[in-house]
């Protein structure tokens, strides 16, 4: 098998997010590693994954899950070596899969030699690689993001005798992108990994690269200009590699990270996800359709990255205060479930382990305009452990089987980086890959089937999107259209059965064929098209032209 040579492959792809530490432990030291990922490439291929996104694997003191990089040129030792990375890329490519990796461009660890050198004295050549100040009131309009742990974006460094700027944890000083040397250094990092064969980056925290007084220090023009430089480098020397931007902003601001097709290839659509949960609980489509209506058109070739959950908390930064209170009330009844401005829980527990709700959500993820990103473990409905600190609750070991340590590692239990889930509902005895692969009716098999249906149809990744109105607020119907192919998706957000009448007259004469069983439905005529949906039910139809 070889890689598709279409440079816009990412529009048809299924992404899968891997937390390397928690995925599979090949050397039984209690922590997952790259070799462990290689061991399970066949599983990911079987599931239908096209691109693996590795959470940070670069060397780091690991005070923030690896988002605190101390060396941009080597792999975290317990994860393996550069050779392991080369082997992973080779093995993935041989299966037709790609691999991208988290790259933190905004900041480094305070353990990074650059920072250590910078703090040593005002004359240090690296001093100007970070943002220093004697006055911690500068850039006062910038919000504090990790409100649970940080009180200011400035911290005092007694060694340097000055305050340094950090948008995230205080052990993560921001790089100074005003300095051309920093800009060049980061481009070198990008080239190094792409030369190694990596298929792209998930660019962490991109809105914050530059600062300017009197602004909120987010989405500044200079930041966009630098990202365009990275893109130009990719286009010139590494065609077919992808840049996926993490910009937790409103859709209109995020869209700017696509540039005019000359910045990032993909951006996460952050506000959509909390609104899907809101819509489900309210049994009405408007929280979703409203945010989609506010989502601007994006340049040709650009693509939204969609997700239901990820390795972070379910972020509620991009909702109103009232909506945030609502989400806390509905999905974080226990205060332990909250973190920063979000909810630290996995998909299955958020949906009360409701099988129909999860299927509906995956149905939406796979049919809304964008590229779906699955989070490891969510394909089998893994749970979380809210009694672990920070975001560790959603980063417990992957549950491969009912064996010791969930089949994740043969190390001593006490040596595991985190304990696997062992409760009767979500624990690895009840919920694991092996058992779900054996059962045709399992959530895993169900999801795989729908992934396969999507994969054969570029319309899902590339087609136009149009919401079909219906007076029933609980029904969310939309069209995906690519040239002659028309897919109709009809979703019931209510836990009760619902009827809906759709105005499909413009497809008069076409026959809806349901995509799972290829079941033909009555031909579309001049009258409103009546459908009935079961609780949380949904249909995907292909509207076939008359023979």
């Amino acid at each position: 098998m070889t890689l598709r040579d279409d440079p816009t492959w990412y529009r048809d792809a299924i992404f899968y997010e891997v937390y390397v530490r928690g995925f599979a432990d090949s050397d039984n030291d209690g922590s997952g590693d790259l070799a462990g990922v290689i061991d399970h490439l066949d599983y990911l291929h079987w599931l239908g994954v096209d691109c693996i996104w590795l959470l940070p694997v670069l060397r780091s003191p690991q005070r923030d899950g690896g988002y605190d990089i101390s060396d941009f040129y080597s792999i975290q030792p317990e994860y393996g070596s550069l050779d392991d990375m080369r082997r992973l890329l080779h093995e993935a490519h041989a299966r037709g899969m790609r691999v991208i990796c988290d790259l933190v461009v905004n900041h480094t660890s305070d353990q990074h030699p650059w920072f250590q050198e910078a703090r040593s004295g005002p004359q240090s050549p690296k001093r100007d690689w970070y943002v220093w100040s004697d006055d911690p009131s500068r850039y006062g309009d910038a919000r504090v993001i990790f409100v649970d742990t940080e009180h200011s974006n400035w911290s005092w460094d007694p060694v340097a005798g000055a305050y340094y700027w950090h948008r995230f944890f205080s052990h993560q000083p921001d790089l100074n992108y005003e300095n051309p040397a920093v800009q060049e250094a980061m481009l070198d990092v990008v080239r190094f990994w792409l030369d190694l064969g990596l298929d792209g980056f998930r660019l962490d925290a991109v809105p914050y690269l530059f600062e300017a007084e009197g602004t909120n220090c987010e989405n500044l023009p200079a930041t966009h200009a630098y990202l365009k430089r990275i893109r130009a480098e990719v286009d010139a020397h590494y065609p077919g590699r992808v840049l996926l931007a993490e910009a937790n902003q409103w859709p209109s601001d995020v869209a700017a990270y696509f540039g005019s097709g000359d910045e990032c290839h993909m951006c996460f659509h952050f506000p959509l996800m909390p609104r899907m949960f809101m819509a489900l609980r309210r049994e009405e489509r408007y929280p979703i359709t409203e945010i989609l209506a506010q989502t601007p058109e994006i340049p040709e070739g650009a693509q939204w990255a969609l997700f239901l959950r990820n390795h972070d908390e379910l972020t509620l930064e991009m909702v109103s205060d009232a909506e945030r209170d609502y989400m806390y009330g509905e999905y974080a009844r226990d205060p332990r479930m909250k973190l920063n401005l979000g909810i630290r829980r996995r998909l299955a527990p958020l949906l009360d382990n409701g099988r129909r709700q999860m299927e509906l959500f995956y149905g939406l993820l796979l049919s809304l305009p964008g590229t779906p990103i699955l989070y490891y473990g969510d394909e089998i409905g893994m749970g979380d452990n809210i009694y672990l600190g920070d975001r560790d609750g959603v980063r417990t070991p992957m549950q491969w089987s009912g064996d010791r340590n969930a089949g994740f590692s043969r190390s001593d239990f006490a040596r595991l980086y985190l304990p696997p889930l062992m409760d009767p509902v979500y624990g690895f005895q009840a919920c694991n890959v092996e058992q779900q692969q054996r059962s045709n009716s399992s959530p895993l098999q169900w999801l795989r089937r729908f992934i396969q249906i999507r994969k054969g149809r570029p319309v899902f990744g590339r087609g136009a999107f149009e919401v079909l109105g219906a007076s029933n607020p609980s029904v969310f119907a939309f069209l995906r259209t690519l040239e002659d192919e028309v897919i109709l998706c009809v979703n019931n957000l209510s836990r009760f059965p619902q009827p809906v009448e759709l105005d499909l007259r413009r497809f008069d004469g076409r026959s809806p064929v349901e995509l799972v069983g290829r079941v033909p439905f009555p031909r579309i005529g001049d009258l409103p098209y009546l459908l009935t949906l079961g609780p949380h039910g949904f249909y995907w139809f292909q509207l076939e032209p008359p023979a």
Partner: protein, 509 residues
């Protein structure tokens, strides 16, 4: 085969109208038609399909009279009819000259509908026998469409008017019953847009009939907001979820573990956020209406004793008329009689009625539409059964507010009736939740409304005065509902009667 200039000379037409009119949903008469007289004909097209605007004066055998506007389509009998409901066809079969021409409802003919639209931009006037028809673009409605719509079709008939759509982008609203004067459905949206309120369908064009006794709005073309859900559908969704939870609990025969208040507090599908949005929307609507326009009939003024007394006496006489029916279904009205009298008279003692402004006039959850772009207000024509002069009168904005408050109560009662019947034991356990749902929505709606209008002078300053007016207007609305339900849906008359009971003794629930 030539068509007469005056359609009265088309044999059998007036006769055919006798049968045709009572079959139409928009026909207001309750008794058989006694006479149907064509008083005006304006030909729009004389080639097939021909089309004429006709004005018909109808008297019924019970002595009631009304004037209707018809758009007749005519095709030679040799041609096929457009695809249209059978009800659209006028049966001229028994006429001697038939079947030379087939006569039908012109609104069912896409060719004629598109012809109407084409005439509104840039506008023209067509003169005929006894009348003229004036087509005009809406002032400020902008130029015509860059790409004119290609399709048109008649939608299902409404009770008072007929609607058609152009490419699902625009709506045509044809007012069936003809009242002399400017229709608020055209007037108020223009006024509101001018005053910065944009959450409504925009008028695009209008068709006016010029008769000897003055102009009358015949039809209106406005933008289509896109499909959405009206407030009632969303309220029922919220209530369905609430009652659904409770039924699941009640079926287990376990005592509900929490209080009514706690259940509503934690309701994930609460309607309260929507009620708050509607409170804002309604306040914005009223503040824009209060700014008025060039026409003196739209300028706000302060209401005083004269209006307060008039409102009180109108409500009193409605109550008296209902009591005089001696209907046993209305027995509970008599129980609350003295409290109602007190509540109605209470407004007579107020110093001021607050501002009198143009109001929506028929405001309830079915008149607000949620789309992907937020909430919108629909249907400014007021109550279609009233003459234009009455509908265009200044009134207290609290009348609209009272309408919405009653509507929350209606939604809860309707939802309850979807779940159960009064004879079912579940009724008694569910009802308090519906009442609490209503109370919370009403309070959120009212709180946000009052927050927004505070300090603008729209309402009387004294909270007690506002409360008294709201009580009186809710009673008036509820009495109106009683009259309607008793005549049309007697099984639902308990809804407004329960409402009256609660309005009269608010502490009870």
């Amino acid at each position: 085969m030539t068509l007469p200039t005056d359609l009265r000379r088309l044999p059998g037409l007036e006769r055919a109208l006798h049968d045709y009119l009572p079959r139409q949903r928009w026909f207001a008469g309750a008794a058989p038609v006694a006479t149907a007289e064509l008083v005006a004909t304006v030909w729009l097209r004389r080639r097939s399909p021909a089309a004429a605007v006709t004005v018909v004066d109808v008297t019924c055998t019970d002595g009631t009279a009304a004037r209707y506007a018809l758009l007749l389509g005519l095709r030679p009998a040799s041609e096929p009819l457009p695809p249209a409901p059978a009800a659209a066809l006028l049966e001229l079969a028994d006429a001697p000259a038939a079947p030379e021409w087939l006569v039908y409802d012109g609104l069912a003919d896409p060719t004629i509908l598109l012809d109407l639209l084409a005439r509104t931009h840039p506008g023209q006037t067509v003169t005929g026998a006894g009348a003229a028809v004036r087509f005009a673009p809406a002032p400020g409605g902008g130029p015509g469409p860059a790409a004119p719509p290609q399709t048109a079709r008649l939608l299902a008939a409404d009770q008072s008017n007929s609607a058609a759509t152009y490419d699902d982008r625009w709506f045509l609203k044809w007012f069936r019953r003809l009242w002399p004067g400017l229709n608020p459905e055209l007037e108020l949206p223009l006024l509101l847009l001018g005053n910065g309120f944009t959450a409504l369908p925009r008028p695009v064009g209008s068709i006016t009939l010029e008769l000897a006794d003055g102009p009358a709005t015949l039809a209106l073309i406005q933008t289509h907001l896109g499909t959405g859900s009206d407030g009632l559908a969303l309220a029922l969704t919220s209530l369905r979820d609430l009652f659904g939870d409770l039924r699941e609990d009640a079926d287990g025969e376990l005592p509900l573990p929490v209080t009514v208040d706690q259940v509503l507090q934690g309701q994930g599908s609460s309607f309260e956020p929507h009620a708050a949005h509607l409170g804002h929307l309604t306040a914005a609507l009223h503040l824009a209406l209060a700014r008025g326009g060039d026409d003196p009939a739209t300028r706000a003024r302060t209401g005083g004793v004269r209006e307060l007394t008039a409102w009180a006496s109108q409500t009193e006489s409605m109550l008296a008329a209902l009591l005089a029916r001696g209907d046993p279904q209305l027995a509970s009205l008599a129980t609350h009689r003295s409290r109602m009298h007190a509540a109605i008279r209470a407004i007579g003692t107020l110093a001021t009625a607050g501002q009198l402004i143009r109001v929506h006039g028929d405001y309830h959850l079915g008149q607000v539409l949620r789309t992907d772009n937020g909430w919108h207000v629909l249907d400014f024509e007021g109550e279609p059964a009233r003459p234009m002069a009455e509908r265009r009168q200044l009134a207290s904005p609290l009348r609209d507010v009272a309408g919405m408050l009653r509507s929350f109560s209606y939604a809860a009662e309707v939802a309850l009736r979807q779940q159960t019947t009064p004879a079912d034991p579940a009724w008694r356990s569910l009802e308090p939740y519906g009442r609490e749902w209503t109370r919370r929505c009403q309070r959120r709606f009212l709180d946000t409304y009052q927050d927004r209008v505070r300090g603008t002078g729209l309402l009387p300053d004294a909270p007690a005065a506002v409360a008294k007016l709201l009580t009186a207007f809710q009673l008036e609305k509820a009495l109106y509902e009683v009259r309607y339900e008793v005549d049309h849906r007697p099984e639902w008359v308990t809804i407004p009667l329960n409402g009256i009971a609660r309005i009269c003794s608010p502490k009870a629930g």
